[in-house]
Symmetry: D3
Subunit: 114 residues, 6 copies
């Protein structure tokens, strides 16, 4: 099983617990999270890249995984991913390098169709 | 065994290592950590909620677990916890959602008296 | 003129510019920002204190000023404020001390009815 | 004089002081800062948007101003800017709203050709 | 008047307001802040450099100014300062560059004995 | 097997994946990461301590482990390590305590020659 599929499965399991407790306000917030990434003046692909680099410089592995998956589905290439992550490392500094390693491990595993 | 009990056991084990190395200054800092949460002008329950939301927006799972346990002991209800975490997500942004998931998993497990 | 009144005036001026550009999604987000602090299972006063300490440990002076004003209006006392900020300094560390200074300057000016 | 021109002038003045002290390593780092934003697999415009949102969620006003200027020069529209900043606010949370206000003030001033 | 002297004067003014409100706990925290930087197994000069780089990567200008002053008093040279700040920029990333500019402006002004 | 050796082995494995994707810019950044810590106006030992405390206040366990290893190799004593970490906890606040626990566990294991 791909690392990203394990991640998504665990995410779904935990989201059920969130929904058990979430009130109206929190549900509204969570629904915004979907609305903001849809095709608009900016293409959905660009928006997912914006989401990815934000998650990267804020150093949240789960958020990185989520956007890596979306970027992959929307056709981001290896070269584009490398350039995006390089900017993330430059802005965020060497403190982000452990996240770079984990992000590329997930990406590499995701792209491996052997 | 509850998740929070496993967490507390591991915490105790590591605290012994800390005490092996801690000098006077560090010990004083660590003792402040207990003094600041005692009943005062603000009730202990409010103080633990302040500690929890601070830990949440700063995105430290171990700190979140610690204050979740205290909040539970001091009578925070599910509704109060949901409102607190909703404010945390709003202020801290969607980058905190993975911490919301993990916090509610621990809380749910803690409250489950089946 | 009180420092907080100058702050609120400037905030209103900038909010007009935000509204000139904000689309539906952003407007929804901004409206959530009001909804989450209303009286509920937790009193509005407690919610504003949660907003204040979150702003404090995340080190945002404008956000601190906003919640200081609300806390003052909702009856937070000097003793309660001191205990809240002490927890903020403890959790956030000495890096927050410049924000402590500025927060107490605004608070002191706000409370001064001479 | 436009706000961004004042900002750039002050930035140039301070960069001279930096260059007075910078050794070889620091100079290499600073030169990378230019290389990473050039046209590549990703267009320069996309790269500046990635730089802008990273600066936004990390809450650095000077960095935001720098990338706002570049985005403007590379043809980012008001609608694109709004969608970018909305994602930034969603991910970074309401703690970023003061930066949203200041960013849109600079952007509005920059776009004003009256 | 040197920039650092203006900074210290303003800091003293605000500290008086802090002392007007500070309770026992907060006073204890603030006194630790002095104790931890005294000569010990590590020289005071090294400790101030540790304080400076921490303040730098956490991006707090006031904290940076405070430790720049102490480093200057304890004999840190221009070359040592440059190497310290270069490591800070590398670890903290390009997001720290505006703080580098302001730090070197204060340092340059401090060292100028013309 | 020591914890640090497991950590280094995993790090090497992930670095191979990074090198598979890294372009020229990213490789240059990564090479700077080595250059900045060499003996200069500041001793290599001091530089590693600067790297450690920066990693500590920014709360990155992998970065902490990396610099703990280097500090150990360059002769940092238990007393020096304790003073460094105490300053880190003071500046970074109680939110860093879980990282203190994990850092001292790795350090204790590293120093244990029984």
């Amino acid at each position: 099983m791909k690392k990203i599929d394990e991640f998504n499965k665990e995410r779904d399991r935990l989201n059920e617990i969130v929904m058990k407790y979430a009130g109206l306000g929190l549900k509204r917030f969570l629904s915004l999270d979907n609305q903001f990434y849809t095709e608009g003046a900016l293409p959905a692909k660009t928006k997912e890249m914006l989401g990815l680099i934000s998650s990267f410089v804020l150093r949240c592995d789960d958020c990185i995984n989520y956007h890596l998956d979306k970027c992959n589905q929307l056709g981001v290439t290896n070269e584009e991913m490398e350039e995006l992550l390089a900017i993330g490392v430059l802005i965020g500094g060497s403190i982000t390098i452990p996240h770079l390693r984990r992000a590329l491990e997930v990406w590499d595993d995701m792209r491996d169709v052997a």
